[in-house]
């Protein structure tokens, strides 16, 4: 049987694909891989369709045993990895023979490592997606030791490259590009995000990255709105003045003003920022 047996999970391991867009009006968010680019890369390395489900692993500590010959790849945060004790590469195609164990240490930088498996993780989809949404509780349960994860049949396409020359997430300051608005007038300084050396707080998860290191002044009479739709990358300014960058499992609507929105591609990089890591914002325009 094509399957992976979970031997340990580390702090959090979840099944993720590209999510379930289209259900916001029923209160269900898109969810999906927090770093979609990393999942895409992993799926490309093992020649999966781009929507195949993989495993999103926070800060390593994860181990699986192959129940059959499987082709896998690790992307995202470069957790040191071994197969039966022998080091294997990152961003590279890895063969797991039946009974072999893949183990991940703690990545030196970045937050989330992705394990793509040729054939995809084939747990039952919910509303068209195998993603776990930690905010709404929709989707498969977080992985636990002893779980048997079914793997789908091999796709027709074959892996074309052995290694992808992609840089892993950085350890230093991460600069996120933002577009001002839609509610930048709710901050006293509409472009104030760029003026603070922020730090990702320890209260950072798949829902959002909370920032500390400063506050943005909220003028009298501003700070609250009738509920508005929230998108991935929205930078919300609660009344306390400490912004939140919403990530994959963001709420569908919210009542605090969104003063800027992170460019879509940069939300993947935001999802690799560790608690305590410096974050800066740079305003870009011209996307009107």
């Amino acid at each position: 049987m094509r399957a992976l047996e979970v031997l340990s999970t580390g702090p959090q391991a979840l099944v993720q694909d590209l999510g379930r867009p289209g259900h916001a009006a029923s209160g269900v968010g898109r969810s999906g891989a927090a770093d979609r680019a990393a999942l895409w890369l992993g799926n490309r390395l093992v020649a999966n369709p781009e929507g195949a489900a993989g495993i999103e692993i926070v800060l390593g500590g994860f181990a699986v045993r192959a129940a059959a010959l499987l082709t896998v790849a690790l992307t995202g945060a470069a957790a040191p990895a071994t197969v039966d004790g022998r080091p294997v590469g990152h961003h590279a195609v890895i063969l797991l023979r039946r009974g072999q164990e893949l183990r991940l240490g703690t990545p030196p930088a970045g937050l989330r490592t992705y394990l793509a498996v040729r054939g995809g993780i084939e747990v039952p989809p919910v509303l068209g997606s195998r993603s776990t949404d930690v905010l709404s509780g929709i989707g498969p349960a977080p992985l636990a030791k002893g779980d048997e994860l079914p793997v789908g049949p091999e796709p027709e396409a074959f892996p074309l490259v052995d290694v992808a020359p992609v840089a892993p997430p950085p350890a230093g300051a991460v600069t996120l590009r933002v577009v001002a608005g839609p509610r930048d007038e709710h901050a006293a300084d509409p472009r104030g995000l760029a003026g603070v050396a922020w730090t990702a707080s320890s209260r950072t998860d798949r829902v959002g990255m909370r920032l500390e290191g400063g506050t943005l002044a909220v003028p009298d009479g501003a700070g609250s709105l009738p509920s508005e739709g929230i998108g991935r990358g929205a930078v919300q300014l609660p009344p306390g003045g400490a912004p939140v960058v919403f990530l994959a499992d963001h709420p569908v609507t919210g009542g605090y003003p969104v003063i800027a929105v992170v460019l879509d591609a940069d939300t993947d990089r935001a999802a690799q920022v560790r608690p305590g890591q410096p974050v800066r914002f740079r305003y870009v325009g011209g996307v009107s």
């Binding site: 577009v179 739709g229 609507t253 929105v261």
Partner: protein
């Protein structure tokens, strides 16, 4: 004719702002029906509709397509998309407070809540939760000063211009006026949400 104001929302979104929730319901319907280029999701809310776009979609083409929508509200707004009846036992913990805040008696609160149909305006908060609008304006009350840490599933509440039913036990700050056995969210059902966008909702007194 509804002419939304277009507000920026990053490089993969566009926020459309209109005058009120009734216009949101009509505009969101029109956006879903219009097959706009690159739209992944249409997110209605109180005064706005957020278009979530496929990354790389040309925002100018979406702006032009939205500007070209001819969205009209009839005398009664859009026709409802289905109708749902929800039986309620009106014994909520806050019904006396709602009576005090509105100046109505408790039976008058019940009569107002059941007296005219509500409409599903938008979702959020939890899967299957629907913000219902268009009810008796006398029932507009502020949220509780302090949210409860746990509100039971099926609780029927009021907040601002909205009414709603908690799909599952969760924290909540709405004023609770009653409870229902109706199942708001069931993944084994298609669609899982009992209250879908645009649907008409009639609350009735349980057992009558």
């Amino acid at each position: 004719m509804i002419t939304p104001t277009l507000l920026p929302y990053g490089d993969a979104g566009l926020l459309l702002e209109v005058a009120d929730t009734a216009e949101v319901v009509v505009l969101a319907d029109a956006c879903r029906a219009a097959d706009l280029p690159g739209v992944l999701d249409v997110v209605p809310a109180a005064r706005t509709v957020l278009l979530v776009l496929v990354p790389g979609t040309d925002l100018g083409s979406v702006r032009r397509a939205v500007a070209g929508l001819e969205v009209r509200t009839g005398p009664a707004g859009a026709a409802p998309a289905g109708s749902v009846e929800i039986p309620v036992v009106y014994d909520g913990e806050d019904i006396a407070e709602v009576a005090r805040l509105t100046g109505l008696s408790e039976p008058e609160v019940v009569a107002a809540h059941t007296g005219r149909p509500w409409r599903v305006a938008f979702g959020g908060f939890a899967p299957g939760f629907a913000y219902l609008t268009g009810g008796d304006p006398r029932l507009a009350v502020a949220r509780r000063a302090e949210a409860r840490t746990s509100v039971p599933a099926g609780s029927v509440g009021l907040a601002g211009e909205f009414s709603g039913v908690y799909p599952r036990s969760s924290p909540g700050g709405w004023q609770l006026i009653g409870r229902t056995d109706a199942v708001l969210w069931d993944l084994a059902r298609d669609p899982p949400a009992l209250l879908t966008p645009g649907a008409e909702v009639r609350f009735v007194v349980e057992g009558r």
